[in-house]
């Protein structure tokens, strides 16, 4: 019976695929130009919607026929809004920092004329003799796109684009395999959970498949709560089908009936794109009853989380799905055995699930070829903070931090000096320059005191105070602590108070030992990952940057000139160009006045230390400085 049914799956899929391919060909090879506007959240915030409207208007005005559509994020967020133009006879070219005026010029001069507007080119997608291409970028040597393959190149709201580019082929293939074969494939690929903990995915699937109880559930954890990380958002916005396909394969493998995709409500665009994607897969019978003619039934529902960091923890996530407050529970039993409503539940991160179709498609060996011995495949990172090329990147596991920050990210802007990289969000740590040559994988960073986490990297330079960043993360975890475990609830509060005192210059040197002690206690006295890792930012900064803590305590000085209680703004009289009023005009609290010699003076009582005057003072004068401790300001 079973053998006879198999060809029908392939046949059913072939039908969907050929339809999608003809749809895709229609505008790719139709002889007309294709214009793609990057419209993920990063692009929109930079003005992609205005650019899209401008292009649409200009195309209409010039009566041009071309395929215009919105795509996701290519990862070059620093250059948003990005527009890609594919004109027959030319290489596909990406333009960066496009505004409506540039967009209209592109239409007139490149589409209508034959000038590819070299001034605005970010890079071409293929090597050519006309304009520089992305493969010439230093980052091209390190990047390897697997999960981000489609991001920025297909319309996330058109399932045909995904299918025409190889999508859902893995599902059709998986449905013709036995669940055991799939588990074996995933195991051999060496895929580990991309949410941060790095648990072997194949093993989790096997446990869940063997667990007793029905119905079983699959949950996709898209509760990306780490401040400063946006990998999952980018994938859900740019290529939602890859995640859905991974979920359906997971559902088939463990024998699940229902799936939930759990996304932060703070990501409205990701929510909308997944809603659209779900409608499309339902229409194509890729979810629902008898998927592709098989006897596998599976449904996926979208659940919007309501903004609680602790809900990224799997037991808390399940509690919130059940309509309760998101308090974590004891493990074991693990959710794979007893999860949602007490049934076996598989919880995987967005990136883990997005990797699965590639493993099924290309084989376990192909996936395992990339990466290090213990950590296979690629890792997606977001680069933010004091780095030139902020954005998204995907590199093989084992790439060093230095390569990611200096080669992919092009280093620190404005010629400043690198100080540290904060990796892993509130659970991670700050690593100094000496750790830059560490290869990034699950284990090496944990050994260094940080953790890979889900992949958010914030680069810090000499102007960033390490005590302040530790305080910031602790303020976050203290606020987000659910309150269940005493050590986490009260311990983080105590640590935060101590750190507050230090940043105000009221700390004592004994406090540093107390911080260490409290940190250890919180780690051992907390139930879930939030408490167990919350002290990491403090521990790592204390370890690597103890001198900064001591400067705050002993001298009342903030070496990075960041802690507002410990600095003062001052206008150097000898540098002040007396006829200029830039600082006076921009001061938001009218704290700057002109004295008899027409030199500008800051009223220290009124000053709120916002730094506006420092930015306003023309660079040729550079008269505004920050002083620490504030007592250095001369009293006249």
């Amino acid at each position: 019976m079973k053998v006879a049914r198999l060809p029908s799956i392939a046949l059913a899929f072939q039908q969907i695929k050929s339809q999608a391919e003809s749809h895709w060909r229609e505008f790719q090879d139709g002889g007309k130009p294709v214009i793609m506007v990057g419209a993920a959240t990063c692009g929109r915030a930079a003005g992609a919607s205005e650019v899209f409207r401008a292009i649409k208007g200009e195309l209409k005005k010039q009566k041009l026929d071309s395929s215009l559509f919105k795509v996701g994020c290519m990862g070059h967020c620093y250059a948003e809004p990005i527009v890609t133009v594919i004109k027959p006879g030319y290489p596909p070219i990406c333009y960066g920092h496009v505004n409506p005026v540039i967009a209209e010029r592109l239409i007139r001069e490149f589409i209508l004329g034959d000038d590819p507007c070299a001034d605005f080119v970010l890079g071409a997608l293929e090597e050519n003799d006309l304009v520089p291409s992305f493969s010439d970028f230093p980052r091209a040597k390190y990047e390897k796109k697997v999960m981000l393959k489609n991001c920025g190149f297909i319309d996330p709201e058109q399932i045909e684009h995904y299918i025409a580019n190889g999508g859902y082929a893995a599902l059709a293939k998986a449905l013709q395999m036995s669940p055991e074969e799939i588990i074996d494939d995933v195991k051999r690929s060496g895929l580990r959970g991309r949410g941060g903990a790095g648990f072997p995915t194949g093993q989790k699937w096997e446990i869940c498949r063997n667990a007793q109880g029905k119905p079983k559930y699959v949950i996709c954890n898209g509760d990306e709560g780490d401040p400063g990380a946006f990998m999952d958002r980018a994938i859900l916005e740019s290529d939602p089908h890859s995640v859905l396909e991974g979920m359906i394969i997971a559902g088939y493998t463990i024998g699940a009936r229902y799936g939930y995709i759990y996304i932060r409500a703070e990501y409205p665009l990701a929510v909308r794109r997944v809603q659209v994607a779900l409608r499309q897969v339902r229409k194509q019978n890729l979810i629902g009853k008898n998927i592709l003619g098989s006897d596998f039934n599976f449904d996926i529902k979208l659940f919007q989380s309501s903004g609680a960091f602790v809900c990224g923890e799997e037991t808390a996530l399940i509690a919130s799905l059940e309509g309760k407050t998101g308090l974590p529970g004891h493990r074991p039993p693990y959710p794979a055995v007893s999860g949602l409503y007490g049934k076996p539940t598989l919880i995987n991160n967005v990136k883990t699930l997005a990797s699965v179709p590639h493993i099924i498609d290309h084989g376990a060996e192909w996936f395992a070829n990339t990466g290090t011995d213990e950590s296979k495949g690629t890792a997606v990172f977001t680069l933010a903070g004091k780095v030139v090329n902020t954005g998204l990147t995907e590199v093989p596991m084992g790439t060093t931090l230095r390569q990611v920050i200096f080669d992919v990210g092009s280093g620190i802007p404005e010629g400043k000096r690198f100080k540290a990289v904060q990796i892993g969000g509130p659970s991670g740590g700050c690593l100094p320059e000496s750790a830059l040559d560490l290869p990034i994988d699950f284990d090496s960073l944990t050994k260094a005191g940080a953790m890979m986490g889900s992949g958010g990297m914030i680069v810090l330079d000499e102007d960033d105070c390490m005590v302040e960043i530790a305080r910031y993360f602790l303020e976050f975890t203290q606020k987000e602590s659910c309150g269940k475990c005493t050590f986490c609830r009260l311990g983080t509060k105590q640590m935060l108070e101590v750190l507050d005192e230090i940043t105000r210059g009221e700390g004592k040197i004994e406090d540093l030992d107390m911080l260490n002690q409290l940190a250890e206690d919180i780690k051992s006295g907390s139930l879930c990952g939030l408490g167990k890792t919350a002290p990491n930012p403090v521990l790592t900064t204390l370890h690597f940057f103890r001198d900064e803590y001591e400067a705050h305590i002993k001298e009342g000085r903030c070496p990075a000139l960041m802690c507002r209680e410990l600095i003062a703004y001052y206008i150097l009289p000898e540098k002040c160009e007396r006829s200029c009023d830039a600082c006076v005009g921009t001061c938001t609290v009218e704290a700057i006045s002109t004295n008899k010699k027409r030199i500008k003076v800051i009223d220290q009582e009124k000053c709120v230390k916002c730094g506006t005057c420092l930015g306003a003072c023309p660079p040729q004068y550079n008269a505004v400085v920050k002083l620490s401790p504030p007592g250095q300001v001369p009293t006249s």
């Binding site: 401040p227 309509g323 004091k386 921009t586 709120v608």
Partner: protein, 178 residues
């Protein structure tokens, strides 16, 4: 003092009755499963802008849950609010990148100009101010989400600029309506 009209039959004010009615209309679309609590709260807040007491009571009754459990969930999650929003919502992002690039200074600037603290609504109901953990636009830090649209590089001077543009809009609208 304004006169509050009570309905003689139910003992509720008109506003309370309206809230109950709106909530009921939304509840009709859901089954009485506990797992629906959060989606219901999201829909009700989406409609009313906040979660008034009457709405929570109505939901608790519908799901056969103790009132306190509904209140517990509402106060646990950051998304839910107990007081009505202003006409314009100001959400200052305090993600890591925004913080390191001066998000707290931006927050101070909003507080100073609007003369309210985070979590509050201005007395004229024009603005409500709050913070958000991270909207994922770290590239354009510091970010403020104004009326659900993320705005990048919001330094104190841009705060003044945004407020000025609202003021001008309002004046223009005022003139047109005259």
């Amino acid at each position: 003092m304004t006169k509050v009209a009570f309905d003689k039959k139910t003992g509720m004010t008109k506003k309370q009755a309206r809230i109950r009615q709106e909530t009921k209309r939304i509840l009709n679309r859901f089954s009485k499963k506990g797992g629906n609590l959060i989606p219901i709260l999201q829909k009700v807040q989406g409609k009313l802008g906040y979660l008034p007491r009457e709405a929570m009571l109505e939901i608790a009754e519908f799901l056969h849950m103790p009132d306190i459990d509904v209140y517990g969930v509402v106060t646990f999650y950051n998304q839910f609010r107990l007081n009505p929003p202003g006409r314009h919502s100001i959400r200052v992002c305090l993600g890591t990148a925004c913080h390191m690039k001066g998000g707290y200074i931006t927050l101070d600037a909003w507080k100073r100009r609007l003369e309210i603290d985070r979590g509050q609504t201005s007395p004229d109901w024009e603005f409500d101010l709050d913070t958000v953990a991270c909207v994922g636009c770290c590239v354009m830090a510091p970010v403020t989400v104004v009326d659900n649209k993320p705005q990048g590089y919001v330094a104190p001077t841009k705060v003044d600029g945004i407020l000025l543009s609202f003021k001008l809009q309002k004046e223009k609208a005022g003139k047109e309506s005259q």
